[in-house]
Symmetry: C2
């Protein structure tokens, strides 16, 4: 039996390992989970006992295959529930994280498979993050940050780097939703802010911070 707390640690370790490609440090986990390194140490011992992580004292941790599977399944559940909350219940994309955080821990045979079918097997969640399939596999998308887009290039918004509700609300208000088409008109040297055209019509200015948190796929047309 894996407790909810244990599940949350595995997910956190997975998410950190996704970005950095070395063993995950106790501290990094503590920061992400908003707890103390001491508590993390405690939990790492337990997870190691259950063979969900490979743990060498003072050397950080890596997920075992078993641990990776648990984490991936959790991410799958989380993202499917987010789709449900947005598509079926009408929540906005900035409201669903905390609910999905709870729903992902609901256990039961065939629940997630049925939910997946009910939602018509979505490949991405409301934030553009890919949803692992029943085997834990997901597609990789060649998306780049708006901050890496060259002047003159056009792209479609496909996701966000930051998931804070403040950022998500701002984007929604500006009409910067998934699928929106942007053309980079100009990058201002002074502060790295940009001037973009949306859907070939409206022009708007976006700060460097926004650019560093917005993913696009370049239109090859």
């Amino acid at each position: 039996m894996i407790s909810q707390a244990e599940e949350n640690y595995l997910k956190a370790i997975f998410k950190i390992a996704e970005k950095e490609n070395r063993a995950v440090s106790t501290n990094a986990i503590a920061v992400l989970m908003q707890t103390t390194p001491a508590s993390v140490s405690d939990m790492l011992r337990r997870l190691s006992d259950k063979n969900l992580i490979a743990y060498e004292k003072y050397r950080g941790v890596q997920l075992t295959e078993a641990g990776k599977q648990v984490a991936t399944e959790l991410i799958r559940r989380h993202r499917l529930w987010e789709v449900f909350l947005v598509e079926k219940l009408g929540f906005s994309w900035d409201e669903v994280h905390d609910l999905a955080e709870q729903l992902e821990h609901v256990q039961g045979p065939s629940l997630i498979e049925r939910l997946d079918a009910f939602l018509d097997y979505p490949r991405y969640d409301p934030h553009g993050d890919p949803i692992p399939d029943a085997d834990g596999l997901w597609v990789f998308r060649a998306q780049i940050l708006l901050s890496d887009l060259k002047t003159g290039q056009r792209g479609v918004i496909t996701g966000v780097q930051e998931h804070s509700s403040a950022f998500l609300q701002y984007l929604a208000q500006m009409g910067l939703t998934l699928g929106a088409v942007l053309e980079l008109l100009e990058r201002i040297d002074y502060d790295q802010s940009v001037r973009v055209r949306m859907y070939d019509t409206r022009e708007l200015m976006l700060s460097e911070k926004v650019c560093k948190n917005l993913f696009l796929m370049i239109e090859n047309a």
Copy 2:
């Protein structure tokens, strides 16, 4: 803050109080929750400290208004999730209890109101049990047990007394689902089993045990 364990105790007390109309005993709670009387005693002290129950040592407990509200809201959530699982995800009525038991504890603003709307404000769950509305109110139905039906009377199946999956599966297999029309042809004195006609066509025999667990509304036509 009310923990999940506390919520479950409140619900159990509510359910026992529904049937017996006296103070609920420690033992009855222990039996329903499949735990020891000692654990129940412990929890009753905590619930009493939070003014969710009125508790006199050795004299049993009653829910306070606050406790009743929590219990009712839980029942509302449980039954709405059951409707979702059956109507939207295609589970059968004998599979949904344990899942709803987990889902009912998910907390978040407007979740249940949105779910209710999505399901089109159902008044009954898949077992025929009434769903409290947002104010905690529900309609009372004048249903009687098949064991109390008189020979010659006709009725529509509206609910079950027992909720075990064995019983629910048996009923489904026999076609004895909600809405089915039964006419009591004969009650056998020897073992109180009955002969009934279903939808004016098929005849079948039902044991006393089945009769004591099947609710019907008499057709006034």
